[in-house]
């Protein structure tokens, strides 16, 4: 995930800003981490470079 996405994305539920915690970075791209809503506190994972901003009720695990 390119860090410049942070000024475009927001929480899908209440549209508040997201706070970024980076676990792993590669060549400037964020590979894994967590986005946390600054209002409702819901967390959204960044996995393999793609932020998962599905609302929790859409997030159910599926076999890849």
């Amino acid at each position: 995930m390119n860090e410049d996405l942070l000024d475009i994305i927001c929480c899908p539920l209440d549209k508040a800003e997201l706070e970024l915690d980076v676990d792993d970075r590669d060549d400037g791209e964020i590979v894994s981490g967590t986005l946390t809503c600054t209002d409702c506190g819901e967390t959204f994972p960044i996995e393999d470079g793609i932020p998962n901003l599905l609302p929790p009720d859409m997030r159910e695990e599926t076999p890849a």
Partner: protein, 225 residues
């Protein structure tokens, strides 16, 4: 309709992603023409980007392109096609966009609306597009139409219909996909019921198309379908 239905559509595409993407190589000419005529924008958006074929077209007019899809596996395919860091990939739901208000200058919402079960949910997704799209920004919305040759339906009817269209994988497995096939009059009515400003509506190659602009400032009052 609960969110299980919307999740089903996502799971369908998780299953068929690779095969689906291979059969969708080329951008639609209607989308290419729309983007060619559009003014350039800082941020472009493809809602329901699939394998990224239209996000690639948007990149010709937008400095940064957000490619959004509910299916993780389709986003993986889009990443291969678009290269890194060619597009900003986001997994998200078209009815609850994880994008800021007035953040987008140019958008395409192509062949995705018809996968949302229930009129309320479809109009909500149009309202979400209106919210994220700047008032001076433009977008192209399309959905499959009753005017398509494959449907034995009256294209002049007030409403279309819900149906299931199977996707057959190379190994013979069949995966059902939900569709709402739009009557052209109904497509226009749903757009008018949304907060989008509708510029033009037409039918081309069996699909309904609308060119729209974002919500005008001070029009945040929700219209109810």
């Amino acid at each position: 309709m609960d969110n299980a239905d919307a999740r089903d559509v996502r799971e369908t595409y998780e299953t068929i992603a690779d095969h689906f993407a291979k059969t969708r190589a080329h951008p639609w000419p209607e989308v290419e023409t729309f983007v060619e005529r559009a003014e350039s924008a800082a941020v472009g958006l493809d809602v329901g980007c699939g394998n990224g074929r239209h996000a690639a077209v948007l990149a010709e007019r937008a400095d940064r392109v957000v490619a959004l899809d509910a299916s993780r596996n389709l986003l993986e395919v889009a990443r291969e096609r678009l290269g890194e860091p060619g597009a900003r990939l986001v997994q998200g739901d078209a009815t609850r966009l994880p994008l800021r208000t007035d953040s987008v200058g140019l958008a395409v919402y192509v062949a995705t609306l018809h996968h949302l079960p229930g009129r309320e949910r479809r109009i909500e997704s149009l309202n979400e597009l209106a919210r994220v799209l700047r008032a001076d920004g433009s977008a192209l919305v399309s959905a499959w139409s009753t005017a398509h040759d494959r449907f034995d339906a009256d294209p002049d009817a007030a409403r279309g219909f819900d149906t299931t269209i199977d996707w057959t994988l190379p190994d013979g497995d069949v995966v059902p996909r939900f569709y709402h096939i739009y009557a052209p009059a109904e497509f226009e009515a749903d757009l008018e019921a949304s907060e989008l400003q509708v510029e033009s509506v037409r039918v081309s190659s069996g699909n309904c198309y609308a060119e729209v602009r974002g919500q005008r400032e001070g029009e945040s009052e929700r219209k109810h379908p």
